[in-house]
């Protein structure tokens, strides 16, 4: 148990590096997804812009939401936000800290997608090929074509096989131009994101360090408290179920005894645990009846004290006096399990 506690503490204290690892994996996954994606520009005047910008902006939005969905702490944040105040005040700084740290982690995969898309260049080429400056890059001296026709011709730039505007503007020239703009945008975006991340991380110790330490402690506390409460409830449910089932079997055994009208055979004192565990049901018929009764009529969720008098002579009529050592004993029991 000591080893598990050590590992648990190590992970907790190293939560930063653990979460950084997860962010790195999501970034790689996002880049891999982009390279596995088969980009097909429609090469039609109005569809190009929609397709290009859609591929640029919709998957990041989905990845951002996915980042929130996959984060276990979202439900913790929602619980803490919506709980009634009760006897414990709510600290908005803690909520803000939890939300900010989750949002920062969820932003990594979308940022990687947008950067990779821009640096690759296909999206911007597809989206903005109809806006290429033909006057500067090619020769727009052909008066025969209307605006619409020109747009139709330019829209085919990304599709080299069907491009028929070579005399207006060479295909390679247009693609190079658009790729260059796209990569410039991509690197500017990367620089902007890293600068923002750097500022957010480095300005914090300069201004709000004390408040940050407080928020961080209490957000960890809320997480640990929730996990521990779940653990305690699970232990309680286990004990509850154990006692409930034992009482069910005891009840069955008493019923069978009264039904079959033979005296209860008291197991001799030295038979041992196996006989005790049989709980008084020792033949096929009784077992079948017990199973049928369990299915048809589950016992109520209400534990009653055992009917046989226990060792200290209590018949269960009065409440035993509440004595102080009992809670301490329970705490000791809990600790020793850990």
């Amino acid at each position: 148990m000591d080893k598990f506690r050590m590992i648990f503490q190590f992970l907790q204290s190293n939560q930063e590096s653990f979460m950084n690892g997860i962010c790195g994996i999501m970034a790689l996954a996002s880049a891999q997804m982009y390279s596995a994606f088969d980009f097909n520009c429609p090469c039609l005047p109005h569809y190009n812009l929609a397709y290009g910008l859609g591929i640029l902006l919709v998957p990041p939005f989905i990845l951002f939401l996915l980042g929130f969905v996959l984060n276990n702490n979202v439900s913790m944040l929602a619980e803490e936000w919506r709980r009634p105040q009760g006897q414990r005040g709510k600290d908005p700084a803690v909520l803000r800290y939890m939300f900010c740290s989750m949002a920062q982690r969820a932003m990594i995969a979308p940022a990687v997608w947008v950067s990779v898309t821009l640096l690759d260049g296909k999206c911007i080429t597809c989206a903005f090929c109809t806006s290429v400056p033909v006057e500067t890059l090619g020769n727009a001296s052909h008066p025969g074509l209307s605006q619409g026709e020109m747009k139709r011709v330019l829209a085919r730039i990304p599709c080299k096989e069907i491009y028929d505007g070579q005399e207006f503007i060479a295909n390679e020239v247009a693609i190079r131009y658009l790729c260059c703009i796209s990569q410039a945008l991509g690197w500017c975006f990367v620089l902007l994101m890293t600068t923002l991340a750097f500022l957010v991380r480095s300005l914090r110790p300069c201004f709000t360090q004390a408040a940050f330490l407080k928020s961080r402690y209490w957000s960890h506390y809320i997480d640990i408290e929730r996990k521990m409460f779940d653990e305690t409830c699970a232990e309680h449910a286990r004990s509850f179920a154990k006692v409930c089932i034992q009482q069910f079997f005891e009840g069955m055994s008493t019923d069978l005894v009264t039904a079959h009208c033979h005296p209860p055979r008291k197991a001799p004192a030295d038979v041992g645990e196996a006989a005790e565990k049989l709980l008084g049901i020792t033949d096929q018929g009784s077992m079948n009846m017990a199973l049928k009764s369990w299915h048809r009529c589950k016992p109520p969720l209400h534990l009653h004290p055992p009917t046989l008098p226990s060792g200290n002579g209590w018949a269960g009529e009065k409440q035993p006096p509440m004595h102080l050592p009992a809670p301490r004993k329970e705490m000791a029991a809990y600790y020793s399990r850990v």
Binding site: S13, A184, T194, R201, C233, V243, P306, S310
Partner: protein
């Protein structure tokens, strides 16, 4: 106790190697990024220089900032720099030492990017193809200046129709690549000599101050890690006591309100110790509802005083 000592030693020896590992990973990532980048020079007179120099200098800035962000020690250093003095004096030598070690590690990936870019040559060819002297090259010598600018700008694009079989293009390209590689190797040589000298000559100057600064910077790092660990341990114990106290107060409330509850033998079943007096569906539901609607106050002083 032994185990804790082992963990502390692990942290102490590991902090350096973790940082070195991150530095190495960033360097590899920078090379990989460069090779997977599809370099497409625009081959237009005004755009070439901007694109070429942009590709050479903007990613290193981003890599440098990444190196600072990913290094945990930069946060530690900033906290130490900005903290109020309190009872502990601030030692500027320690802060300077930490700053210089962080900067050295963060500079590795950008330098590798720049050197790889120069050794590859494409960036410099793209940026400076319009700036070569056309008289030196036969194919460009006798053309008007506007046209020569246009032609020179297209030199980096091998597949352009004008440049496809142009021997002078290859000459310009080779010339610029030669300069680029010479620059790349010189920078690499200078940096390696500088690093070598810095490491070998450092013991000659201020060795005692250096040992002190290094010791105290390691100390500050470890102290912060232990503080975080202790806070985690404390919040775990706090939560534990808070929950036990909550169960206890629920049990007392139930005992107070339901006189029909017969007393149970406290030691009747081993498993009943964990039931804590909650033995009924309604009681469990009430406990869970209370947990949601009225979380207990963050005050375990009466529990610890028992």
């Amino acid at each position: 106790m032994d185990r804790f000592r082992m963990i502390f030693q692990y942290f102490q020896s590991n902090s350096e190697s973790v940082m070195n590992g991150i530095c190495g990973l960033l360097a590899l990532a920078s090379v990989k990024m460069y090779t997977s980048l599809d370099f497409s020079c625009p081959c237009l007179p005004q755009y070439n220089m901007a694109y070429g120099l942009g590709i050479m200098f903007v990613p290193p800035i981003a890599l440098f900032l990444c190196g600072l962000i990913l290094n945990r020690q930069s946060l530690v250093m900033l906290e130490e720099w900005r903290r109020p003095q309190g009872h502990r004096k601030k030692d500027l030598a320690v802060i300077r030492y930490m700053c210089s070690s962080i900067m050295q590690r963060a500079m590795v990936a950008p330098v590798i990017w720049i050197v790889v870019t120069l050794l590859d040559g494409k960036c410099l060819i793209c940026a400076f193809s319009s700036a070569v002297d056309p008289e030196k090259f036969v194919g460009f010598a006798n053309t008007s200046s506007v046209q020569v600018q246009q032609l020179l700008a297209k030199v980096p694009c091998k597949d352009d129709e004008l440049m496809r079989n142009n021997t002078s293009r290859k000459a310009v390209s080779r010339y610029l690549r030669c300069w680029s590689q010479a620059l790349g190797w010189s920078i690499l040589l200078i940096l390696i000599i500088a690093a070598f000298l810095a490491r070998w000559l450092r013991p000659c100057f201020n060795q005692a101050t250096l040992l002190q600064a290094r010791h105290w910077s390691t100390y500050i790092d470890i102290e912060q890690k232990i503080f975080e660990e202790t806070c985690c341990e404390h919040s775990r114990l706090f939560a534990h006591k808070c929950i036990l106290h909550f169960f206890e107060s629920m049990r007392q409330e139930i005992k107070l309100h339901s006189f029909s509850l017969p007393g149970k033998g406290e030691g009747a079943e081993g498993g009943e110790d964990l039931l804590r007096g909650i033995t009924d569906q309604d009681q469990v539901n009430k406990l869970l509802k209370m947990w949601y609607y009225e979380k207990p106050p963050l005050d375990v002083s009466q529990v610890t005083q028992r």
